[in-house]
C-alpha cells in the first residue's frame, strides 16, 4: 500500500468539511482561508485547491460569495455559509464524529 496516496485521498476527502467549518462562524476570503488551512497540521493543502472547492460548494448552494473593495489590492471575494450549508455542515460534522468514534472502537479491539 502506498501510504502517501492514501494520505492524499484522505486529505482531499476532508477539505470540504474543513473549509465549511472555517466559514461556520465568520465569512472569509479565499486567500485568508488558504493561510488558515496551511496552518492545519497534516492537511498540506495546495494553494490552488481551495478555489474549485469553493466554486463547487457555491454551485451546490452551500455557500455564497460577495465581492468587496479592498484597501490593499483588487476587490476581495468573501464567502459565507448559507442556511442550507449550515444544516449540511451539521450533518457532515455529526457523520464525521460518528465515523471517528467507530474507527476508535475498532482500533481499541473487542471488549
Amino acid at each position: 500500500m502506498n501510504l502517501e496516496n492514501w494520505q492524499t485521498q484522505l486529505r482531499k476527502g476532508l477539505l470540504d468539511v474543513v473549509i465549511m467549518n472555517l466559514l461556520r462562524h465568520n465569512r472569509c476570503h479565499g486567500y485568508e482561508m488558504v493561510q488558515k488551512l496551511k496552518q492545519i497540521d497534516g492537511l498540506k493543502i495546495r494553494e490552488g485547491n481551495i478555489y474549485p472547492i469553493l466554486a463547487r460548494l457555491q454551485t451546490d448552494g452551500l455557500i455564497t460569495s460577495k465581492s468587496e473593495a479592498s484597501q490593499d489590492g483588487p476587490p476581495r471575494k468573501y464567502f459565507a455559509l448559507t442556511d442550507l450549508g449550515l444544516k449540511t455542515l451539521d450533518s457532515m460534522n455529526s457523520h464525521l464524529a460518528k465515523m471517528i468514534e467507530s474507527i476508535q472502537r475498532v482500533r481499541r479491539g473487542p471488549v
Binding site: 495546495r46 490552488g48 485547491n49 478555489y51 474549485p52 457555491q58
Partner: protein, 241 residues
C-alpha cells in the same frame, strides 16, 4: 514593466493557460470563476514578494505551491461528474481510446525507424516528444550535488532545504508543473532551457540526476549542479498531494 515582472507574467500566464485547459475539459459552469480566483490569488502572491524575492526560483515556488492543473478539475467535479463528462464516459471515451491505441501503435512503428532526437540546446525548446518508460512516474528529491559522482545513497550532502521537492513525469510529455519533457531532457519552456537527465540504478533504487539550470545558470552559464531524485512511484497517476 521590469524584466522580473515580465518573467512573472510569462510564468503566471503559462500556469493559468494550463489551468484553463484543464478546467475546460470539465464543462463545469464555474470554470471561468475558478480561473479568475486563481488569477487574483497569483497577483496577490506576487504583490507580497519583496524585491529580493522577485527571482525565477521564487516565481516557480509560487507555482509549485498552487498545485498541478489537474487538481482543479478533480476538486471541482465530484463523483459522477458533470453531464458532459458522463456523456464522454458513455459514448466518446471508448471511441477515443480506440483512436489513441491505434495512434500509439502507429507512433511506435514510426519511432522504431526514425533518427535519434537531435541534441537539445538552450533556447530551443520545441522538440517533439519521445517517450522514456524509465522516466515516467513520481520522483522525490534526495540531494543536490555539484557532480553526479558525489552522490551517496542515504547520505545527504546539501545542507539546506531542497527547492525542487518532487517531479512527476507523465507519459504524455507533461510534468506536474510548467515544464515538459522528452527522452533525456526536462524542458523549461519559460526559462528556455533544456536540462539533461540521467537515470541510474543504485543499490536497487532508481535515481535521476537532473541538471539544475536555474536563472543564475541562464545568466552566468556556470556549470549546473545536479538534483538527485529517487523514484518513488512508477506511474504518474497520483500526481497530486
Amino acid at each position: 514593466m521590469t524584466t522580473e515582472n515580465k518573467l512573472w507574467e510569462d510564468i503566471k500566464n503559462q500556469y493559468l493557460e494550463q489551468v484553463r485547459k484543464a478546467l475546460s475539459s470539465s464543462g463545469h459552469p464555474s470554470s471561468r470563476e475558478v480561473l479568475e480566483d486563481v488569477h487574483a490569488h497569483l497577483d496577490r502572491r506576487f504583490a507580497e514578494l519583496r524585491p529580493h524575492q522577485q527571482t525565477w526560483e521564487d516565481y516557480q515556488k509560487i507555482i509549485l505551491e498552487m498545485g498541478p492543473a489537474s487538481d482543479y478539475v478533480e476538486l471541482l467535479v465530484t463523483e459522477g461528474g458533470s453531464p458532459r463528462k458522463k456523456l464522454l464516459r458513455k459514448y466518446l471515451l471508448p471511441v477515443g481510446l480506440t483512436v489513441v491505441l491505434c495512434g500509439t501503435a502507429i507512433l511506435l512503428l514510426v519511432q522504431t525507424f526514425r533518427e535519434p532526437p537531435q541534441e537539445i540546446i538552450d533556447g530551443k525548446v520545441d522538440y517533439s516528444f519521445v517517450n522514456d518508460v524509465d522516466a515516467v512516474g513520481k520522483w522525490e528529491s534526495v540531494d543536490f550535488v555539484q557532480r553526479a559522482e558525489n552522490f551517496k545513497p542515504g547520505v545527504r550532502s546539501w545542507p539546506s532545504d531542497l527547492y525542487l521537492k518532487e517531479l512527476v513525469i507523465s507519459e504524455n510529455g507533461a510534468t506536474g508543473g510548467t515544464w515538459t519533457w522528452t527522452k533525456g531532457w526536462i524542458i523549461n519552456p519559460i526559462g528556455k532551457t533544456a536540462a539533461k537527465y540521467q537515470i541510474k540504478e543504485i543499490e536497487g533504487s532508481k535515481y535521476m540526476f537532473l541538471e539544475w539550470k536555474s536563472y543564475d545558470y541562464a545568466t552566468t552559464k556556470r556549470p549546473p549542479y545536479y538534483y538527485v531524485l529517487k523514484k518513488v512511484q512508477n506511474s504518474s497517476d497520483n500526481n497530486t498531494k
